[in-house]
């Protein structure tokens, strides 16, 4: 910061219209879903969203078109994630995923459904980071390939190949987990019968 430029400079910098600022602050839920799917830690995801919102508010003058706001914010978030958060990557275990689910909507408490959700989340957590990031953006938030390329700063060809590998790996992880689960249930059933 150049202290000579203040305070006129400061006032100018922060004079962006209130509607964009509001949209930035309101995007927290969308950001959170993706942030959570990247790190599977509620508090880390929350911090990541906050940092994204702050950076977006700070750099709001750099946003060229309002309709590019979402992609722009996801790009900020992926930068923040790579810069600060990835280092703190927790070891995701199923127990912590289960704890998180406790805090979610009661409609999802149906046991079979909950098991399925856990399998998918555990499967996603096992993917390579680059695969996890792209598949979350495309499948959870429905961003287009073009937007994903912009957000992750990679060519569209890479988006396609990485996404194909990610889906394939995820589907294998889910099947594997489901298989293990069934085995476990069979074993516990036998135990009860004895």
């Amino acid at each position: 910061m150049e202290s000579e430029e203040e305070p006129v400079e400061i006032i100018r910098l922060f004079s962006k219209s209130g509607t964009v600022r509001k949209r930035i602050v309101d995007s927290r839920e969308r950001l959170f879903r993706v942030a959570y799917s990247w790190c599977h830690d509620r508090y880390q995801a929350d911090d990541l969203c906050q940092e994204t919102i702050i950076t977006a508010l700070e750099k709001v003058d750099q946003l060229r078109a309002e309709d590019a706001l979402d992609a722009w914010m996801f790009r900020i978030m992926q930068n923040a994630y790579r810069k600060h958060f990835r280092k703190m990557k927790p070891q995701v275990d199923v127990e912590s995923l289960e704890d998180h689910m406790e805090e979610e909507a009661p409609a999802e408490r149906d046991i079979e459904r909950a098991e399925e959700i856990l399998q998918v989340r555990a499967g996603l957590a096992q993917l390579k980071e680059s695969q996890r990031m792209i598949i979350s953006l495309v499948d959870i938030e429905g961003v287009s390939y073009k937007e994903a390329a912009d957000i992750l700063e990679i060519p569209i060809g890479t988006v396609m190949s990485r996404l194909a590998r990610a889906r394939d790996a995820l589907s294998r992880h889910i099947q594997q987990d489901a298989g293990q689960h069934q085995q476990k249930r069979k074993r516990s059933h036998l135990k009860v019968m004895k």
């Binding site: 910098l13 906050q50 979350s136 959870i140």
Partner: protein, 246 residues
Amino acid sequence: MSDYEHEISEEILNAFIDGELESEERIEILSELSKQPQMTQRVCELIRTKELLRSAYRTVTPPPRIIRHRSLSNNRRWGALAASLIVGVLLFHFSEQLPLQGPQYSVTQQQAISQVAFQQAEEAAALRIVFHLTSSNPLRMGKLLDDVDSLLEQTQQLSQATVVEVIANGDGMDLYRSGVTSFSERIQEMSGDNSNLRFVACQRTIDQLESDGLGKVRLLPEVVRAGSGISQIVQRQQQGWSYIQI
């Protein structure tokens, strides 16, 4: 990746289910699908994975955050009256545990009067700036304090009512830690000279440091605590404060 033979790549099949193909390509895939049951099965698998993933995160919602909106300066006279009442209450209860909790801060007895002065300054301020420190680098800390000093000096010369809040979290907390910081005298001096300046520490960082086994974190007496530094910054921005990260 797949054990069936066809000319259409996995990438294209994925793009097909993601609706990323042009109409001609879609038609081509559709006609292939009618001929190749294995490919149809593969497409179904891909769609299933996509849907499973989408629905597995549908209910994810952020943890609740308490964002308290303060009504800012609608009525300064009322604000001043309330402030002087608070001072009265404070003086009366000075020897007891402080009954007042600021709207966003936890304060000690010693800080209470300067908090009231700060709130009055805030009501009157045209320029409100929050500085954010995340670094434990003493050069940055020094620069931050220099910047704050020069800003306060300039605005005073211009007779522009200003309030400044310096929020530290993460590694930046070292600035406020008694026995760790090398800026304790400077902070004491700046705080004493400027009722429109406040030093704020992130309680979440303090909790983290303590749980990391650093023992009780002691802060300089001029520093007040906010629940979360980041929430505080977001709230300040929503209230129209300017934000500067050092």
